[in-house]
Symmetry: C2
Subunit: 229 residues, 2 copies
Amino acid sequence: MDRKKAVILLSGGLDSATALAVAADKGFACYALSFAYGQRHDVEIRAAEKIAAAFTCIEHRTVNIDLSQWGGSALTSADIDVPKDRTDGEMAEGIPVTYVPARNTVFLSFAVAWAEVIGAKDIFIGVNSIDYSGYPDCRPEFIRAFEECARLGTKAADEGWTFTIHTPLQKLGKEEIIKLGVSLGVNYSMTHSCYDPSPDGLACGHCDSCELRRKGFTEAGIPDPTIYA
Amino acid sequence: MDRKKAVILLSGGLDSATALAVAADKGFACYALSFAYGQRHDVEIRAAEKIAAAFTCIEHRTVNIDLSQWGGSALTSADIDVPKDRTDGEMAEGIPVTYVPARNTVFLSFAVAWAEVIGAKDIFIGVNSIDYSGYPDCRPEFIRAFEECARLGTKAADEGWTFTIHTPLQKLGKEEIIKLGVSLGVNYSMTHSCYDPSPDGLACGHCDSCELRRKGFTEAGIPDPTIYA
């Protein structure tokens, strides 16, 4: 029997690599989808390529969409600095400037488009609500709303089925994500998390994403393979 | 007082030009958004430029997103022919091959992204459920689902407001749309509807979109300014 197909949103970071590992472990034929969206840390795209190859994805596509044309985020505009060395308290205070307006809505819309074309009914996204940056498009209510939207905005509703958007990391802390990924064979040295890498692609060690990643490895008791600048 | 901003999805066709006219008439500061998505009829992009200029949009952006990379539609794949000379009965039979998977989901996701960046809470889209091609992403339930998605996937929910997705043409027949547009100053000779234009950009006169357009002008009793090949 043919394996069920799934589209996996793969940024190249720690979370999405783990989400891919979960999808592969569940036996899905994996179609990985990445975006060159004008992000400051486009080094993550090369990371995504390595990870997709490591998990023998059937296909890996990197779609070009220039969100830097309107900016509005520290990740897509050179005019907004990436915050560094924030305390846990500061991180808990609302939506940070690294939030990219509607990013996951855009990413998921492409995932649904590709899924419909290849006949996949399953989509994986590595959002989580525990050790994250407070982005609105990572919350479970958003994911459920998008799932409904995907059903109604495609042939699914007419054909009587629905897309399932899997969020296997939704309720996991970073250290749990890392332990899960290691158990599934993720080589985290391939992944890139830093929002503001050096010109040669090394992690800054001080942005929210680096802080969360470093803390995760420490708490998991697993050596952090990241090379910091 | 500053005018409220609205993002208007502007394909360059008859419907979206009318939706823009409605938004302008309501006094919105209009930000028009078009897509070069690998469509067979990319001549519509030049039409959109003319229309945006005619309605003195504050800004008009054409975003490049290549949906032809995975195809799956007669509009984005050279391998699928655009159906011609279909009867009303044939047009009523389900979703046609000109349906572009998840297109309006993708378009609306970019509209929300841009809207959030510029501080617009209103989005206009020229979908309608009467004289249309049976696309799932034109139905009111989809639009309402997307509205909720936009609220939850952006800062809106945290800040206690919501995006409004205006669909002023939802319940209008093509002839009513044309009459409305004419009353609001739309010059339909600027618009392009044909799915399968000749190499020099002339309408084929036989695809569903040409048929619906021609019928609309006839029923409205207004001369059709379209030049057919």
